[in-house]
Protein backbone atom coordinates (compact mmCIF):
# COMPACT_ATOMS: atom_id res chain seq x y z
CA UNK A 1 0.00 0.00 0.00
CA UNK A 2 1.11 3.50 -0.77
CA UNK A 3 1.11 5.93 2.10
CA UNK A 4 1.51 9.69 2.40
CA UNK A 5 5.22 9.41 3.20
CA UNK A 6 5.79 7.51 -0.05
CA UNK A 7 4.10 10.27 -2.01
CA UNK A 8 6.10 12.99 -0.28
CA UNK A 9 9.29 11.05 -0.83
CA UNK A 10 8.63 10.60 -4.54
CA UNK A 11 7.66 14.27 -4.78
CA UNK A 12 10.99 15.19 -3.18
CA UNK A 13 12.95 12.99 -5.58
CA UNK A 14 11.04 14.45 -8.52
CA UNK A 15 11.55 17.97 -7.18
CA UNK A 16 7.78 18.52 -7.14
CA UNK A 17 5.90 20.58 -4.60
CA UNK A 18 2.85 18.90 -3.07
CA UNK A 19 0.31 21.05 -1.26
CA UNK A 20 -1.03 19.59 1.99
CA UNK A 21 -4.62 19.60 0.84
CA UNK A 22 -3.70 17.55 -2.26
CA UNK A 23 -1.93 14.80 -0.36
CA UNK A 24 -4.88 12.48 0.25
CA UNK A 25 -6.04 12.72 -3.32
CA UNK A 26 -2.55 12.06 -4.68
CA UNK A 27 -1.99 9.09 -2.36
CA UNK A 28 -5.22 7.49 -3.58
CA UNK A 29 -4.25 8.27 -7.20
CA UNK A 30 -0.83 6.76 -6.75
CA UNK A 31 -2.33 3.60 -5.26
CA UNK A 32 -4.57 3.34 -8.30
CA UNK A 33 -1.57 3.59 -10.61
CA UNK A 34 0.32 0.89 -8.71
CA UNK A 35 -2.75 -1.38 -8.80
CA UNK A 36 -2.97 -0.88 -12.52
CA UNK A 37 0.39 -2.62 -12.80
CA UNK A 38 -1.39 -5.82 -11.78
CA UNK A 39 -3.71 -5.41 -14.71
CA UNK A 40 -0.68 -4.95 -16.96
CA UNK A 41 0.96 -8.04 -15.48
CA UNK A 42 -2.04 -10.13 -16.43
CA UNK A 43 -1.84 -9.10 -20.07
CA UNK A 44 -1.24 -11.84 -22.64
CA UNK A 45 2.24 -11.21 -24.11
CA UNK A 46 3.13 -14.62 -25.51
CA UNK A 47 3.83 -14.52 -29.26
CA UNK A 48 3.89 -10.74 -29.44
CA UNK A 49 7.20 -9.25 -30.44
CA UNK A 50 6.73 -5.62 -29.59
CA UNK A 51 3.49 -3.89 -30.26
CA UNK A 52 2.11 -0.47 -30.83
CA UNK A 53 0.94 1.51 -27.87
CA UNK A 54 -2.86 1.75 -28.12
CA UNK A 55 -2.49 0.39 -31.66
CA UNK A 56 -0.91 3.62 -32.72
CA UNK A 57 2.18 3.97 -34.84
CA UNK A 58 3.79 6.74 -36.81
CA UNK A 59 2.70 9.74 -34.84
CA UNK A 60 4.91 12.45 -36.22
CA UNK A 61 5.50 16.18 -36.05
CA UNK A 62 6.26 18.23 -39.16
CA UNK A 63 9.71 19.84 -39.12
CA UNK A 64 8.43 23.35 -38.51
CA UNK A 65 10.10 25.70 -36.02
CA UNK A 66 8.00 26.80 -33.06
CA UNK A 67 9.17 29.71 -30.96
CA UNK A 68 11.25 28.63 -27.98
CA UNK A 69 10.51 29.83 -24.44
CA UNK A 70 11.99 33.04 -23.04
CA UNK A 71 15.21 32.24 -21.21
CA UNK A 72 13.87 33.55 -17.88
CA UNK A 73 11.10 30.96 -18.10
CA UNK A 74 13.55 28.18 -18.91
CA UNK A 75 15.81 29.12 -15.99
CA UNK A 76 12.97 29.78 -13.55
CA UNK A 77 13.36 26.48 -11.68
CA UNK A 78 17.15 26.51 -11.69
CA UNK A 79 18.53 26.31 -8.18
CA UNK A 80 21.54 28.30 -9.32
CA UNK A 81 22.17 30.19 -12.53
CA UNK A 82 24.81 32.45 -14.01
CA UNK A 83 25.21 34.20 -17.38
CA UNK A 84 22.10 32.53 -18.75
CA UNK A 85 23.28 29.05 -17.84
CA UNK A 86 22.10 26.47 -15.34
CA UNK A 87 24.80 26.17 -12.75
CA UNK A 88 25.59 22.78 -11.24
CA UNK A 89 28.36 21.30 -9.13
CA UNK A 90 31.24 20.04 -11.18
CA UNK A 91 31.16 16.29 -11.77
CA UNK A 92 33.79 14.25 -13.54
Amino acid sequence: MINKEDVLNIALLSKLYVADDKLDELTAGMQEIISFADTINSAEVENTEFDNINNLSDVFREDVVVESYPREEILKNAIEQDEGHFLVKKRV
Binding site: S14, L16, F50, D51, N52, I53, N54, L56, S57, D58, V59, F60, R61, E62, D63, V64, V65, V66, S68, Y69, R71, I74, L75, N77, D82, E83, G84, H85, F86, L87, V88, K89, K90, R91
Partner: protein, 471 residues
Protein backbone atom coordinates in the same frame (compact mmCIF):
# COMPACT_ATOMS: atom_id res chain seq x y z
CA UNK B 1 55.72 -4.75 -39.89
CA UNK B 2 54.42 -4.90 -36.36
CA UNK B 3 53.88 -8.28 -34.71
CA UNK B 4 50.44 -6.97 -33.83
CA UNK B 5 47.40 -6.11 -35.84
CA UNK B 6 45.14 -3.17 -35.08
CA UNK B 7 41.41 -3.88 -34.92
CA UNK B 8 39.02 -0.96 -34.72
CA UNK B 9 35.38 -0.10 -35.07
CA UNK B 10 33.92 3.38 -35.11
CA UNK B 11 30.79 4.93 -33.66
CA UNK B 12 30.03 8.10 -35.53
CA UNK B 13 27.53 10.66 -34.30
CA UNK B 14 26.15 13.00 -36.92
CA UNK B 15 23.77 15.90 -36.29
CA UNK B 16 20.95 15.94 -38.81
CA UNK B 17 20.29 19.20 -40.67
CA UNK B 18 16.62 19.43 -39.74
CA UNK B 19 15.02 22.76 -38.87
CA UNK B 20 13.81 21.60 -35.48
CA UNK B 21 14.86 19.29 -32.68
CA UNK B 22 13.95 15.61 -32.66
CA UNK B 23 11.07 15.80 -30.15
CA UNK B 24 10.01 19.46 -30.06
CA UNK B 25 9.72 22.48 -32.33
CA UNK B 26 12.77 24.37 -31.00
CA UNK B 27 15.26 25.43 -33.64
CA UNK B 28 18.47 23.45 -34.18
CA UNK B 29 20.37 26.55 -35.25
CA UNK B 30 24.00 26.56 -34.10
CA UNK B 31 25.48 29.33 -31.99
CA UNK B 32 22.53 31.05 -30.28
CA UNK B 33 22.72 32.58 -26.80
CA UNK B 34 22.76 29.90 -24.08
CA UNK B 35 19.38 28.31 -23.28
CA UNK B 36 17.43 30.37 -25.80
CA UNK B 37 16.54 27.41 -28.06
CA UNK B 38 14.72 25.55 -25.32
CA UNK B 39 11.23 24.58 -24.20
CA UNK B 40 9.77 22.35 -21.46
CA UNK B 41 10.19 19.24 -23.66
CA UNK B 42 13.91 19.62 -24.36
CA UNK B 43 14.81 20.64 -20.82
CA UNK B 44 13.00 17.56 -19.57
CA UNK B 45 10.29 19.07 -17.39
CA UNK B 46 7.87 16.54 -15.91
CA UNK B 47 4.56 16.18 -17.68
CA UNK B 48 5.89 17.00 -21.14
CA UNK B 49 5.57 14.59 -24.04
CA UNK B 50 8.01 14.11 -26.91
CA UNK B 51 6.70 13.99 -30.48
CA UNK B 52 8.98 12.60 -33.18
CA UNK B 53 10.08 14.86 -36.03
CA UNK B 54 9.08 13.18 -39.28
CA UNK B 55 12.11 14.51 -41.15
CA UNK B 56 14.49 12.83 -38.69
CA UNK B 57 13.15 9.46 -39.80
CA UNK B 58 13.37 10.43 -43.46
CA UNK B 59 16.96 11.72 -43.13
CA UNK B 60 18.11 8.66 -41.23
CA UNK B 61 16.63 6.45 -43.95
CA UNK B 62 18.46 8.51 -46.59
CA UNK B 63 21.73 7.99 -44.71
CA UNK B 64 20.94 4.29 -44.37
CA UNK B 65 20.18 3.78 -48.05
CA UNK B 66 23.31 5.69 -49.07
CA UNK B 67 25.41 3.32 -46.93
CA UNK B 68 23.78 0.14 -48.24
CA UNK B 69 21.74 -0.50 -45.11
CA UNK B 70 18.50 -2.42 -44.76
CA UNK B 71 15.63 -0.36 -43.38
CA UNK B 72 13.64 -1.84 -40.51
CA UNK B 73 9.94 -2.21 -41.23
CA UNK B 74 9.23 -1.56 -37.58
CA UNK B 75 11.48 0.19 -35.11
CA UNK B 76 11.01 1.86 -31.77
CA UNK B 77 12.60 4.30 -29.35
CA UNK B 78 14.16 3.34 -26.01
CA UNK B 79 15.40 5.13 -22.92
CA UNK B 80 19.11 4.95 -22.20
CA UNK B 81 19.50 5.85 -18.54
CA UNK B 82 22.50 7.71 -17.26
CA UNK B 83 22.85 10.50 -14.80
CA UNK B 84 24.85 13.49 -15.96
CA UNK B 85 23.93 17.18 -16.08
CA UNK B 86 24.06 17.33 -19.90
CA UNK B 87 20.94 15.17 -19.89
CA UNK B 88 18.08 16.88 -18.02
CA UNK B 89 15.76 13.86 -18.01
CA UNK B 90 18.55 11.57 -16.73
CA UNK B 91 17.91 9.43 -19.78
CA UNK B 92 18.55 9.84 -23.47
CA UNK B 93 15.87 8.80 -25.91
CA UNK B 94 17.68 6.54 -28.33
CA UNK B 95 17.14 3.20 -30.04
CA UNK B 96 18.33 -0.04 -28.51
CA UNK B 97 17.35 -3.34 -30.08
CA UNK B 98 15.28 -2.13 -33.02
CA UNK B 99 17.34 0.49 -34.87
CA UNK B 100 15.94 2.15 -37.97
CA UNK B 101 18.74 0.95 -40.28
CA UNK B 102 20.98 -2.13 -40.10
CA UNK B 103 23.53 -4.25 -41.98
CA UNK B 104 25.10 -1.74 -44.34
CA UNK B 105 28.65 -1.12 -45.47
CA UNK B 106 31.08 1.50 -46.71
CA UNK B 107 33.59 0.36 -49.32
CA UNK B 108 37.17 1.60 -49.15
CA UNK B 109 39.46 2.25 -52.10
CA UNK B 110 41.43 -0.92 -51.34
CA UNK B 111 38.23 -2.86 -52.00
CA UNK B 112 37.57 -3.75 -48.36
CA UNK B 113 34.07 -3.32 -47.05
CA UNK B 114 33.66 -1.83 -43.59
CA UNK B 115 30.38 -3.32 -42.41
CA UNK B 116 27.91 -1.14 -40.58
CA UNK B 117 26.08 -2.84 -37.75
CA UNK B 118 23.37 -0.23 -37.52
CA UNK B 119 22.28 3.37 -37.79
CA UNK B 120 19.92 4.61 -35.12
CA UNK B 121 18.31 7.93 -34.26
CA UNK B 122 18.63 9.67 -30.91
CA UNK B 123 18.73 13.05 -29.21
CA UNK B 124 21.92 15.01 -28.58
CA UNK B 125 22.82 16.09 -25.04
CA UNK B 126 23.34 19.64 -23.79
CA UNK B 127 26.68 21.38 -23.62
CA UNK B 128 28.67 21.64 -20.39
CA UNK B 129 31.23 24.35 -19.81
CA UNK B 130 33.48 23.81 -16.81
CA UNK B 131 34.72 27.05 -15.30
CA UNK B 132 35.37 28.65 -11.90
CA UNK B 133 34.99 25.20 -10.32
CA UNK B 134 31.37 25.01 -11.46
CA UNK B 135 29.64 23.55 -14.45
CA UNK B 136 27.61 25.82 -16.72
CA UNK B 137 24.86 24.04 -18.61
CA UNK B 138 23.44 25.11 -21.97
CA UNK B 139 20.59 23.00 -23.35
CA UNK B 140 20.42 24.55 -26.82
CA UNK B 141 22.02 21.41 -28.27
CA UNK B 142 19.89 19.13 -26.08
CA UNK B 143 17.37 17.36 -28.30
CA UNK B 144 19.11 18.12 -31.60
CA UNK B 145 18.62 15.01 -33.75
CA UNK B 146 21.56 12.67 -34.22
CA UNK B 147 22.19 9.53 -36.14
CA UNK B 148 24.73 7.15 -34.70
CA UNK B 149 26.47 5.00 -37.28
CA UNK B 150 28.06 1.94 -35.71
CA UNK B 151 30.62 -0.03 -37.68
CA UNK B 152 31.75 -3.59 -37.11
CA UNK B 153 35.37 -4.00 -35.92
CA UNK B 154 36.49 -4.25 -39.56
CA UNK B 155 39.06 -1.47 -39.62
CA UNK B 156 42.65 -2.73 -39.71
CA UNK B 157 44.79 0.39 -39.90
CA UNK B 158 44.84 4.09 -39.12
CA UNK B 159 44.70 4.80 -42.87
CA UNK B 160 41.54 2.72 -43.20
CA UNK B 161 39.97 4.59 -40.28
CA UNK B 162 40.82 7.90 -41.90
CA UNK B 163 39.37 6.87 -45.26
CA UNK B 164 36.28 5.41 -43.61
CA UNK B 165 35.52 8.70 -41.84
CA UNK B 166 36.19 10.72 -44.99
CA UNK B 167 33.96 8.43 -47.07
CA UNK B 168 31.17 8.59 -44.52
CA UNK B 169 31.44 12.36 -44.38
CA UNK B 170 31.35 12.59 -48.18
CA UNK B 171 28.36 10.26 -48.55
CA UNK B 172 26.31 11.95 -45.81
CA UNK B 173 27.01 15.37 -47.30
CA UNK B 174 26.01 14.15 -50.77
CA UNK B 175 22.62 12.98 -49.56
CA UNK B 176 22.17 16.31 -47.82
CA UNK B 177 21.26 15.17 -44.32
CA UNK B 178 24.15 16.87 -42.49
CA UNK B 179 27.01 19.25 -43.13
CA UNK B 180 29.27 16.89 -41.10
CA UNK B 181 31.44 19.72 -39.81
CA UNK B 182 33.75 18.06 -37.35
CA UNK B 183 35.14 21.37 -36.08
CA UNK B 184 31.60 22.51 -35.16
CA UNK B 185 30.75 19.19 -33.58
CA UNK B 186 28.12 18.13 -36.11
CA UNK B 187 30.19 14.96 -36.68
CA UNK B 188 32.01 13.23 -33.81
CA UNK B 189 33.66 9.85 -33.55
CA UNK B 190 34.27 7.31 -30.83
CA UNK B 191 36.88 4.69 -31.70
CA UNK B 192 36.84 1.19 -30.26
CA UNK B 193 40.31 -0.21 -30.59
CA UNK B 194 42.09 -3.43 -29.70
CA UNK B 195 45.21 -5.26 -30.80
CA UNK B 196 45.96 -8.91 -31.48
CA UNK B 197 48.90 -10.91 -32.80
CA UNK B 198 49.08 -10.92 -36.61
CA UNK B 199 47.16 -13.91 -37.95
CA UNK B 200 44.96 -14.29 -34.88
CA UNK B 201 41.24 -14.25 -35.43
CA UNK B 202 40.04 -13.62 -31.88
CA UNK B 203 39.41 -10.08 -30.70
CA UNK B 204 41.55 -8.53 -27.97
CA UNK B 205 40.14 -6.47 -25.10
CA UNK B 206 39.12 -3.09 -26.46
CA UNK B 207 39.25 0.43 -25.19
CA UNK B 208 37.02 3.20 -26.41
CA UNK B 209 38.36 6.67 -27.18
CA UNK B 210 35.50 9.14 -26.89
CA UNK B 211 34.33 12.15 -28.78
CA UNK B 212 36.98 13.08 -31.31
CA UNK B 213 36.24 16.00 -33.56
CA UNK B 214 38.96 15.87 -36.19
CA UNK B 215 40.30 13.22 -38.52
CA UNK B 216 43.86 14.15 -37.56
CA UNK B 217 43.09 13.56 -33.87
CA UNK B 218 41.44 10.23 -34.67
CA UNK B 219 44.57 9.12 -36.50
CA UNK B 220 46.93 10.35 -33.77
CA UNK B 221 44.84 8.90 -30.95
CA UNK B 222 44.68 5.52 -32.71
CA UNK B 223 48.44 5.48 -33.29
CA UNK B 224 49.05 6.32 -29.65
CA UNK B 225 46.54 3.79 -28.33
CA UNK B 226 47.84 1.02 -30.60
CA UNK B 227 51.38 1.55 -29.28
CA UNK B 228 50.13 1.77 -25.70
CA UNK B 229 48.25 -1.52 -25.92
CA UNK B 230 51.12 -3.32 -27.66
CA UNK B 231 53.57 -2.07 -25.00
CA UNK B 232 51.21 -3.24 -22.25
CA UNK B 233 50.94 -6.73 -23.70
CA UNK B 234 54.66 -6.97 -24.55
CA UNK B 235 55.55 -6.08 -20.96
CA UNK B 236 53.36 -8.87 -19.67
CA UNK B 237 50.34 -6.76 -18.75
CA UNK B 238 46.87 -6.83 -20.20
CA UNK B 239 44.49 -4.24 -21.63
CA UNK B 240 41.63 -3.15 -19.38
CA UNK B 241 38.28 -2.41 -20.97
CA UNK B 242 37.73 1.28 -20.34
CA UNK B 243 36.66 4.57 -21.82
CA UNK B 244 39.47 6.94 -22.68
CA UNK B 245 39.74 10.57 -23.51
CA UNK B 246 42.29 11.80 -26.06
CA UNK B 247 44.26 14.92 -25.16
CA UNK B 248 45.48 16.56 -28.35
CA UNK B 249 47.88 18.88 -26.49
CA UNK B 250 49.93 15.99 -25.12
CA UNK B 251 48.92 13.41 -27.76
CA UNK B 252 48.05 10.86 -25.11
CA UNK B 253 44.93 9.03 -23.95
CA UNK B 254 43.78 8.92 -20.34
CA UNK B 255 41.09 7.00 -18.51
CA UNK B 256 37.62 8.58 -18.12
CA UNK B 257 35.77 5.69 -16.54
CA UNK B 258 35.58 1.94 -16.72
CA UNK B 259 33.52 1.06 -19.73
CA UNK B 260 29.81 0.51 -19.33
CA UNK B 261 28.12 -2.46 -20.85
CA UNK B 262 24.63 -2.17 -22.25
CA UNK B 263 23.01 -3.42 -19.02
CA UNK B 264 24.52 -0.48 -17.11
CA UNK B 265 22.19 1.79 -19.05
CA UNK B 266 19.00 0.00 -18.03
CA UNK B 267 17.54 0.34 -21.48
CA UNK B 268 13.78 0.06 -21.74
CA UNK B 269 11.09 0.94 -24.20
CA UNK B 270 10.24 4.66 -24.33
CA UNK B 271 6.60 4.58 -23.30
CA UNK B 272 5.86 8.09 -24.54
CA UNK B 273 6.55 7.29 -28.18
CA UNK B 274 4.80 4.92 -30.54
CA UNK B 275 6.50 2.57 -32.97
CA UNK B 276 7.85 3.72 -36.31
CA UNK B 277 6.77 1.66 -39.26
CA UNK B 278 8.33 2.15 -42.65
CA UNK B 279 6.77 0.51 -45.70
CA UNK B 280 8.70 -0.70 -48.72
CA UNK B 281 6.89 1.96 -50.76
CA UNK B 282 8.16 4.69 -48.45
CA UNK B 283 11.70 3.36 -48.72
CA UNK B 284 11.45 3.21 -52.51
CA UNK B 285 10.13 6.76 -52.64
CA UNK B 286 13.07 8.02 -50.58
CA UNK B 287 15.53 5.96 -52.64
CA UNK B 288 14.28 7.72 -55.78
CA UNK B 289 15.23 11.10 -54.34
CA UNK B 290 18.84 10.13 -53.60
CA UNK B 291 21.44 11.84 -55.78
CA UNK B 292 24.14 9.96 -57.65
CA UNK B 293 26.50 8.85 -54.88
CA UNK B 294 30.23 9.71 -54.79
CA UNK B 295 31.49 6.27 -55.81
CA UNK B 296 29.16 6.01 -58.81
CA UNK B 297 29.98 9.56 -59.84
CA UNK B 298 33.70 8.92 -59.63
CA UNK B 299 33.38 5.84 -61.86
CA UNK B 300 31.29 7.74 -64.38
CA UNK B 301 33.72 10.67 -64.54
CA UNK B 302 36.62 8.30 -65.17
CA UNK B 303 34.93 5.88 -67.55
CA UNK B 304 32.50 8.06 -69.48
CA UNK B 305 34.11 11.49 -69.37
CA UNK B 306 37.70 10.27 -69.59
CA UNK B 307 38.82 12.28 -66.57
CA UNK B 308 41.97 10.88 -64.92
CA UNK B 309 41.26 9.02 -61.65
CA UNK B 310 43.16 11.48 -59.44
CA UNK B 311 41.38 14.48 -60.98
CA UNK B 312 37.99 12.77 -60.70
CA UNK B 313 38.66 12.09 -57.01
CA UNK B 314 39.33 15.78 -56.39
CA UNK B 315 36.22 16.81 -58.33
CA UNK B 316 33.89 14.40 -56.56
CA UNK B 317 35.15 15.10 -53.06
CA UNK B 318 32.48 17.74 -52.47
CA UNK B 319 29.04 17.72 -53.94
CA UNK B 320 29.01 21.45 -54.71
CA UNK B 321 32.03 21.05 -56.98
CA UNK B 322 30.36 18.25 -58.91
CA UNK B 323 27.21 20.34 -59.30
CA UNK B 324 29.24 23.24 -60.64
CA UNK B 325 31.27 20.98 -62.91
CA UNK B 326 28.23 19.20 -64.35
CA UNK B 327 26.34 22.41 -64.89
CA UNK B 328 29.34 24.08 -66.56
CA UNK B 329 29.85 21.05 -68.82
CA UNK B 330 26.38 21.04 -70.38
CA UNK B 331 26.55 20.83 -74.16
CA UNK B 332 30.34 20.69 -74.35
CA UNK B 333 32.33 18.20 -76.43
CA UNK B 334 35.03 17.85 -73.84
CA UNK B 335 34.12 18.25 -70.15
CA UNK B 336 37.79 17.57 -69.36
CA UNK B 337 38.54 21.20 -70.24
CA UNK B 338 36.07 22.33 -67.56
CA UNK B 339 37.61 19.87 -65.09
CA UNK B 340 41.09 21.23 -65.79
CA UNK B 341 39.95 24.82 -65.30
CA UNK B 342 38.28 23.94 -61.98
CA UNK B 343 41.24 21.96 -60.65
CA UNK B 344 43.68 24.62 -61.89
CA UNK B 345 42.51 28.22 -61.93
CA UNK B 346 39.46 27.84 -59.67
CA UNK B 347 41.19 25.73 -56.99
CA UNK B 348 44.02 28.31 -56.89
CA UNK B 349 41.49 30.80 -55.49
CA UNK B 350 40.20 28.29 -52.90
CA UNK B 351 43.05 27.67 -50.54
CA UNK B 352 41.52 25.68 -47.70
CA UNK B 353 39.51 22.47 -47.67
CA UNK B 354 36.52 24.27 -46.22
CA UNK B 355 36.71 26.89 -49.00
CA UNK B 356 36.66 24.06 -51.54
CA UNK B 357 33.73 22.49 -49.74
CA UNK B 358 31.73 25.72 -49.68
CA UNK B 359 32.82 26.42 -53.26
CA UNK B 360 31.75 30.05 -53.15
CA UNK B 361 33.20 31.60 -56.30
CA UNK B 362 32.15 34.64 -58.28
CA UNK B 363 32.06 32.86 -61.63
CA UNK B 364 28.84 31.02 -62.49
CA UNK B 365 28.75 27.63 -64.22
CA UNK B 366 27.13 29.34 -67.22
CA UNK B 367 30.03 31.78 -67.50
CA UNK B 368 32.62 28.98 -67.46
CA UNK B 369 30.49 27.09 -69.97
CA UNK B 370 30.50 30.10 -72.28
CA UNK B 371 34.27 30.43 -71.99
CA UNK B 372 34.90 26.79 -72.84
CA UNK B 373 32.47 27.05 -75.77
CA UNK B 374 34.65 29.83 -77.17
CA UNK B 375 37.59 27.42 -77.08
CA UNK B 376 35.67 24.53 -78.56
CA UNK B 377 34.39 26.63 -81.43
CA UNK B 378 37.98 27.61 -82.20
CA UNK B 379 37.40 31.29 -81.49
CA UNK B 380 40.01 31.59 -78.76
CA UNK B 381 43.02 29.62 -77.67
CA UNK B 382 43.41 27.83 -74.36
CA UNK B 383 45.98 30.21 -72.93
CA UNK B 384 43.87 33.28 -73.66
CA UNK B 385 40.91 31.53 -72.02
CA UNK B 386 43.00 30.79 -68.98
CA UNK B 387 44.04 34.41 -68.62
CA UNK B 388 40.42 35.49 -69.03
CA UNK B 389 39.25 32.97 -66.43
CA UNK B 390 41.60 34.40 -63.79
CA UNK B 391 40.04 37.80 -64.37
CA UNK B 392 36.53 36.32 -64.39
CA UNK B 393 37.16 34.63 -61.03
CA UNK B 394 38.42 37.86 -59.52
CA UNK B 395 35.54 40.00 -60.79
CA UNK B 396 32.52 37.79 -61.40
CA UNK B 397 32.27 39.18 -64.92
CA UNK B 398 31.69 37.06 -68.03
CA UNK B 399 34.24 35.95 -70.62
CA UNK B 400 33.23 38.61 -73.13
CA UNK B 401 34.23 41.35 -70.71
CA UNK B 402 37.84 40.31 -71.13
CA UNK B 403 37.90 38.93 -74.64
CA UNK B 404 36.82 41.29 -77.38
CA UNK B 405 36.03 40.54 -81.00
CA UNK B 406 39.58 41.31 -82.08
CA UNK B 407 40.89 38.56 -79.79
CA UNK B 408 38.67 35.94 -81.32
CA UNK B 409 39.43 33.78 -84.29
CA UNK B 410 43.09 33.46 -83.43
CA UNK B 411 45.63 34.63 -86.00
CA UNK B 412 45.44 33.97 -89.68
CA UNK B 413 48.42 32.36 -91.33
CA UNK B 414 49.83 35.59 -92.71
CA UNK B 415 49.76 37.32 -89.35
CA UNK B 416 51.37 34.30 -87.68
CA UNK B 417 54.12 34.18 -90.32
CA UNK B 418 54.76 37.88 -89.82
CA UNK B 419 55.03 37.44 -86.02
CA UNK B 420 57.36 34.45 -86.39
CA UNK B 421 59.63 36.47 -88.66
CA UNK B 422 59.70 39.30 -86.12
CA UNK B 423 60.48 36.85 -83.33
CA UNK B 424 63.41 35.43 -85.26
CA UNK B 425 64.87 38.78 -86.19
CA UNK B 426 64.62 40.16 -82.65
CA UNK B 427 66.14 37.09 -80.95
CA UNK B 428 69.25 36.19 -82.95
CA UNK B 429 70.93 34.53 -79.95
CA UNK B 430 68.04 32.12 -79.40
CA UNK B 431 67.97 31.29 -83.13
CA UNK B 432 71.70 30.54 -83.00
CA UNK B 433 71.19 28.25 -79.98
CA UNK B 434 68.41 26.43 -81.79
CA UNK B 435 70.58 25.92 -84.85
CA UNK B 436 73.23 24.46 -82.56
CA UNK B 437 70.72 21.82 -81.46
CA UNK B 438 69.12 23.42 -78.42
CA UNK B 439 65.46 22.63 -78.97
CA UNK B 440 64.51 24.56 -75.83
CA UNK B 441 65.67 27.84 -77.31
CA UNK B 442 62.46 27.95 -79.32
CA UNK B 443 60.52 28.57 -76.12
CA UNK B 444 61.80 32.13 -75.80
CA UNK B 445 60.75 32.77 -79.45
CA UNK B 446 57.33 31.31 -78.65
CA UNK B 447 57.10 33.55 -75.58
CA UNK B 448 57.71 36.56 -77.81
CA UNK B 449 54.93 35.47 -80.18
CA UNK B 450 52.44 34.87 -77.39
CA UNK B 451 53.17 38.19 -75.81
CA UNK B 452 52.84 40.11 -79.04
CA UNK B 453 49.69 38.30 -80.14
CA UNK B 454 48.12 38.74 -76.70
CA UNK B 455 47.86 34.99 -76.38
CA UNK B 456 45.91 34.53 -79.60
CA UNK B 457 48.50 32.50 -81.46
CA UNK B 458 48.18 28.73 -81.61
CA UNK B 459 51.30 27.48 -79.85
CA UNK B 460 51.60 24.27 -81.88
CA UNK B 461 51.23 26.05 -85.21
CA UNK B 462 53.67 28.75 -84.14
CA UNK B 463 56.30 26.20 -83.10
CA UNK B 464 55.99 24.36 -86.40
CA UNK B 465 56.33 27.60 -88.34
CA UNK B 466 59.34 28.73 -86.26
CA UNK B 467 61.10 25.47 -87.03
CA UNK B 468 60.46 26.01 -90.75
CA UNK B 469 61.64 29.60 -90.73
CA UNK B 470 64.61 29.31 -88.40
CA UNK B 471 66.57 26.74 -90.40
Amino acid sequence: MSKYELVAGLETHIELATNTKIFCGCTTEFGGEANTHCCPVCIGLPGTLPKLNKRVVEYAIRAGLATNCKIAEISKMDRKNYCYPDLPKAYQISQFDKPLCYEGYVQLSNGRKIRLTRIHIEEDAGKLIHKNGDTYVDYNRGGVPLIEIVSEPDIRSVEEAREYVEKLQQIIRYVGVSDCKMQEGSMRCDVNISVRPQGSDTLGTRTEIKNMNSITFIAKAMEYEFERQVDLIESGGSVVQETLRYDDATNTTSSMRSKEDAHDYRYFREPDLVTISVSKEQVDAIAKTLPELPEAKLQRYVQELGIPQKDAELLTKYRRITEFFESASIGLQNPKTVANFILGSVFKTLETESAKEDFKILTTPAQLNELVKLIESGKIKNNLAKAALDKMLASGKGATDFIDESDMGGLDEAALTELCKQAISSNPAAVEDYKNGKEKALQSLLGYIMKNSRGKADAQAALAMLKDLAV
